[in-house]
Subunit: 167 residues, 2 copies
């Protein structure tokens, strides 16, 4: 099929390394996003806050912070609040933009707000750069051109050829 194995761990494709920023795996990126969000919302990010936000326990956070520090995404000093490094901020910004764009896209297509947010969040770590580009372009098109704008109206009205009686 379409999956190539990696050295260890879970199944998953290995994507091209054509990204603009240094990337991490889904779990790690989620930590970076969470730290970024907390910094914005409360001005700081403590271990407990992160744990709470992610629905996990603090020791799990501590060990991941060490890892992210070693990878250069986070500045971690024991018993101190965490901060993102330049590299970490770059990634966070990238992910945030990515997510914003994805969510806009899904919403545009009529996906419910909450669902769109969730799904955007979930797939942003997975989609390849070219795909993202195309989706953004689409959103842009529907905003920047008259055809695009009118088209959206059209789609909103459209409710399918026939409601096939699905049980």
């Amino acid at each position: 099929m379409f999956l190539t194995g990696k050295k260890r761990g879970y199944l998953g494709k290995k994507m091209g390394e054509d990204d603009r920023v240094a990337r991490l795996n889904v779990t790690e990126e989620t930590y970076v996003e969470t730290i970024d969000a907390l910094m914005r919302e409360r001005g700081y990010a403590g271990v407990t806050d992160i744990a709470e936000e992610l629905g996990i326990k603090s020791p799990s956070v501590t060990s991941m912070l060490k890892k992210l520090d070693a990878l250069g995404f986070v500045k971690y000093t024991p018993y101190r609040n965490v901060t993102l490094t330049e590299k970490g901020r770059d990634l966070a910004a990238f992910l945030k933009e990515q997510q914003r764009s994805l969510q806009a896209f899904l919403t545009l297509l009529g996906v419910d707000e909450i669902v769109a947010e969730n799904d955007a969040c979930a797939i942003e770590h997975i989609l390849q750069a070219p795909t993202l580009e195309r989706l953004s372009k689409f959103v842009e098109f529907t905003q920047a051109t008259p055809q695009g704008r009118s088209w959206i109206e059209c789609f909103k009205k459209y409710e399918g050829v026939k409601k096939s009686p699905k049980r």
Copy 2:
């Protein structure tokens, strides 16, 4: 943020259970898809074939097959070829349709064939049902209505307002 922890293991949201078929985690579903594909392509699915297809080693396959058998998705008898149960076939069919639809969607938006296939494959296990519905509806719209058809032409021509010099 938008992730709720689960009992154990990796971070990830818990989605609503509103699906039409019994679902599994990404890894498990990938096995089911692979078995289904092999059955179609070669008429049977051996442990080695599956392992090869997934780029992993055979013992990993054996143990997953036991699990999937216990879960009722697969008929596993030691040293025999594997088959899918009704439940397994249902899931495979669901996933195949899902993927077909996703891929069509991405391709429609101008994502390269290969990339679209990969991404469709990767996110099909993650997207929620309502999102999928919306995407399908979109594809349908672009095929079933004149507005939809003409719109695609329009989008294909569109190449953005200005190429902002990135960097």
